[in-house]
């Protein structure tokens, strides 16, 4: 019974205690109120200025903003972003272009035009990681310590979801074109990228330009001296000096460096006589042909287990083959090379025996087996301008050749494949036909 009343008493007591507290809170509600009457009151911005220099700290989490004029397109923020919500595309003016992307407010010369800088705020998770690596402090969260740069922005709600993707970079098309971004524009619009004036071609003209002829200078044996001489030589040639003048200036440069010796007189003389520029030799069309290995297969040497031995053997093999030795002579030279290196063993012996015996046999079979298609030059197919078609044609060509078909068969097969794919035009047919003509 006592327990019963005790319970009632303690229940009432805690009830009254709770009410008292509530009453207390009611009285001091002005002091304790935590709610901000939001549309009428807003966050007190000034108080949140945390008292740091804004260059050093960037402690506010709000909307991301980019001062695009300061952006150098280094992509560091894009790489830092864990959710890939930053997308940057930039156009780099080609070498020698007149286009000037300008400078940042820190005075850094920009090297490219930022054509696209999108931040998708529907993806952004406000981790702030992108703002730290920025070398120009141009990406930051608005407001707070950055209030000098940008007003605080708590309400950036949009009517449409698309509007939450902020496009910071909007250079006019002319500017992109001026920066050499024709390809970029075409890609952006979904047009086929204009056939490049072939990057390869652009690089190649070098070979037709007259080159400086370093041959006489290369005769100098001392490395330091040679490098000095070359420098002076290049400068002189570029300045358009005559051979004798060039020789004089090289001599002078070396003398200044205290490197000139009487031994170099001969070199100077040769400089004085030499053609300073070589007219470019037509680049040899033919690639280095593999030395005819006389039907010998270097792969046989792979049977050698020891690495050192194998490498010595292969070296000797290649040297011998290049000299045009026959199987026996090759084996002999390998043997002597290995003996010299103290690596000759029974294993080597057996491998060499195999090599010798294989030599004769494979030489005979190879010339029969390898179809004449070897003579078909796949490069002819490069005349096909469409990339897809070219790829398809080459693929078929290679497959057919691997199967050991004769040229006529290969040609028909390539044609057939292209036709099946609906890519065969009379022009291409002609190119493919010319495959055979080459033989």
């Amino acid at each position: 019974m006592g327990e019963y009343f005790k319970n009632i008493y303690s229940g009432l007591q805690s009830f009254v205690a709770g009410l008292q507290l509530s009453l207390h809170h009611y009285h001091s509600r002005k002091k304790l109120v935590a709610t901000l009457q939001y549309p009428h009151e807003k966050w007190p911005v000034e108080e949140r200025h945390i008292g740091f220099d804004l260059q050093d700290y960037n402690v506010v989490r709000s909307r991301l903003h980019v001062d695009i004029n300061d952006c150098i397109g280094c992509n560091q923020c894009m790489r830092a972003c864990p959710v890939d919500c930053i997308k940057i595309e930039s156009v780099k003016p080609p070498k020698g272009s007149e286009f000037d992307p300008g400078t940042t407010s820190n005075g850094t010369q920009k090297r490219m035009l930022v054509a696209r800088f999108d931040i998708d705020l529907t993806e952004c998770m406000f981790c702030n990681l992108c703002t730290y690596p920025c070398p120009e402090d141009c990406i930051y969260m608005v407001g707070g310590p950055n209030s000098a740069k940008h007003q605080i922005e708590y309400e950036y709600s949009q009517r449409d979801r698309k509007d939450l993707i902020f496009h910071f970079a909007n250079p006019p098309e002319e500017e992109i074109l001026a920066a050499g971004g024709a390809d970029y524009l075409a890609k952006k619009k979904g047009l086929p990228v204009p056939e490049k004036p072939a990057a390869g071609v652009a690089a190649k003209p070098k070979s037709t330009e007259p080159k400086i002829n370093y041959t006489p200078v290369n005769a100098i044996t001392d490395r330091m001296t040679r490098s000095l001489a070359k420098k002076a030589f290049t400068a002189a040639v570029r300045a358009g000096k005559t051979p004798s003048e060039t020789a004089a200036s090289v001599k002078q440069a070396l003398e200044e460096a205290g490197k000139y010796t009487s031994e170099l007189d001969a070199v100077m003389e040769s400089i004085g006589k030499a053609d300073l520029m070589t007219q470019a030799v037509q680049a040899p069309e033919t690639k280095l042909t593999k030395p005819d290995q006389g039907g010998l297969d270097i792969k046989l040497l792979n049977d050698l287990t020891d690495r050192m031995t194998r490498s010595i053997a292969k070296k000797a093999f290649m040297a011998a083959v290049r000299e045009g030795k026959d199987a026996r002579a090759v084996a002999d030279s390998i043997q002597s090379a290995l003996q010299a290196a103290n690596k000759f063993s029974d294993e080597v012996k057996s491998v060499l025996a195999k090599l010798q015996s294989a030599g004769g046999a494979s030489a005979a079979t190879e010339s029969d087996q390898k179809p004449a298609s070897v003579a078909l030059n796949i490069k002819v197919l490069n005349g096909i301008s469409d990339k897809m078609t070219r790829g398809l044609a080459k693929k078929t060509f290679m497959a057919a050749r691997r199967e050991g078909k004769i040229p006529a068969e290969i040609v028909t097969e390539v044609k057939q494949t292209l036709e099946d794919a609906g890519k065969l035009t009379p022009e291409y047919a002609k190119i493919i036909d010319s495959l055979q003509e080459g033989t």
Partner: protein, 379 residues
């Protein structure tokens, strides 16, 4: 006084399966409970999880170590600083770098503030679960002050990305220590108010004392940690038993349940451990704020975290219990595998065991006392 049914043969009636959640105010997130009931008596509970699964662990394999940190925020979003800290400590262990003392202190301060903030939510929502609305508004109001402090430090209020591998993103602002001390002075009396209005309220005690008793054996067997384990009277707190950072320099006690209102390990004990822990955290904070040394917080931040090889398991006492990160480095700037031990997951798994035989309304109280965060359970 609520009573637990021990002998189910007394009922002889049909079983009914009641679905609670995934959208239910007292499931603390998107948790679905399949409650097998007999009348109103619960015979079995199947927690069904995964509604908030975000592939955190798989994600980590595609992110650099620095980029994982904001994702750890999102696991336990009520104690994000703790998760940042836990991950950072694990990676630092793997890197084998020494952290400046100032950073250690800053981290302790942040972790303890976050522990208070998290416990405030736990206490407030627990009151809400058992029918007391007022304490919730009070605890949330005080938590708001902690969030203000966090915003003052790092600009964010919920998901901070403040504790980095090797350091912290910013040094403390000038007025931080003063403002934190002000907050502590304000906050300590508030704990007494919570006690007055909730902890020692007769109705609250009736609802929670002796309900859902978790014995120490069961708690240990299920791998419960944190306040849930300590509520059962087990003195286990990694800050004391395996001190990391600079916790060995502070004088504080491990809060354990003592069965003051009923049996040891009942719902009230689990609740009260959190109240006591907040007081202990205030104690640690005062010491840390007084002792904090100077120094550069960025001294040990590696330019690029790149770990050749190795693996590490690092444990950390978060507000909810032991957070573990098992990281296998893959020789790149990204980990090969990250496994996270989630304390709330283990704590939740004990639910069926302790809620058996209680009424549905008691299940709410028991679940509230476990203080789960679904973001961390599902990851």
């Amino acid at each position: 006084m609520a009573e637990q049914l021990k002998d189910f043969s007394l009922l002889h009636s049909d079983e009914m399966v009641l679905n609670m959640g995934p959208q239910h105010p007292s499931t603390h997130g998107v948790l679905r409970l399949k409650i097998h009931t007999d009348g109103e008596i619960v015979s079995r509970i199947e927690p069904i999880i995964g509604y908030l699964h975000r592939c955190f662990e798989k994600h980590c394999e595609y992110l650099t170590y620095e980029q994982i940190v904001p994702f750890t925020d999102r696991t336990d979003y009520l104690a994000a600083m703790n998760m940042n800290d836990a991950f950072a400590i694990a990676v630092e262990k793997l890197l084998g770098i020494e952290i400046p003392e100032r950073v250690q202190y800053i981290r302790v301060i942040m972790a303890e503030l976050q522990r208070i903030a998290s416990h405030l939510v736990a206490v407030g929502t627990f009151g809400l679960d058992v029918g007391g609305i007022t304490p919730f508004t009070w605890t949330i109001r005080d938590r708001e002050r902690i969030l203000d402090l966090f915003e003052y430090v790092c600009g964010a209020r919920l998901l901070y990305n403040y504790i980095w591998v090797g350091g912290v993103s910013h040094d403390l602002p000038e007025q931080f220590i003063r403002r934190t001390l002000e907050f502590l002075d304000y906050f300590e009396p508030q704990i007494d108010e919570y006690n007055q209005i909730l902890t020692y309220n007769k109705i609250f005690i009736e609802r929670t004392a002796d309900v859902g008793t978790l014995t120490p054996e069961v708690a240990v067997n299920y791998g419960c940690t944190g306040p849930v384990l300590r509520g059962s009277g087990v003195k286990w707190d990694l800050r004391k038993t395996e001190p990391y950072a600079v916790y060995d320099k502070f004088d504080f006690d491990i809060a354990v349940g003592d069965g003051r209102m009923g049996t040891v390990g009942d719902t009230w004990d689990r609740y009260f451990v959190r109240i006591v822990e907040m007081k202990e955290s205030v104690k640690i904070l005062r010491q840390a704020l007084a002792q904090i040394p100077g120094g550069d917080v960025h001294a040990a931040v590696p330019k690029k975290v790149r770990i050749k090889e190795g693996s590490v398991y690092s444990r950390y006492e978060s507000a909810r219990g032991e957070v573990g990160f098992y990281i296998i480095a893959g020789g790149k700037d990204k980990p090969m595998r990250v496994k996270m031990r989630s304390p709330a997951f283990c704590n939740l798994s004990v639910l069926s065991e302790i809620a058996e035989g209680w009424m549905i309304s008691d299940v709410i109280a028991i679940l509230g006392s476990l203080d789960i965060v679904l973001g961390e359970i599902d990851r």
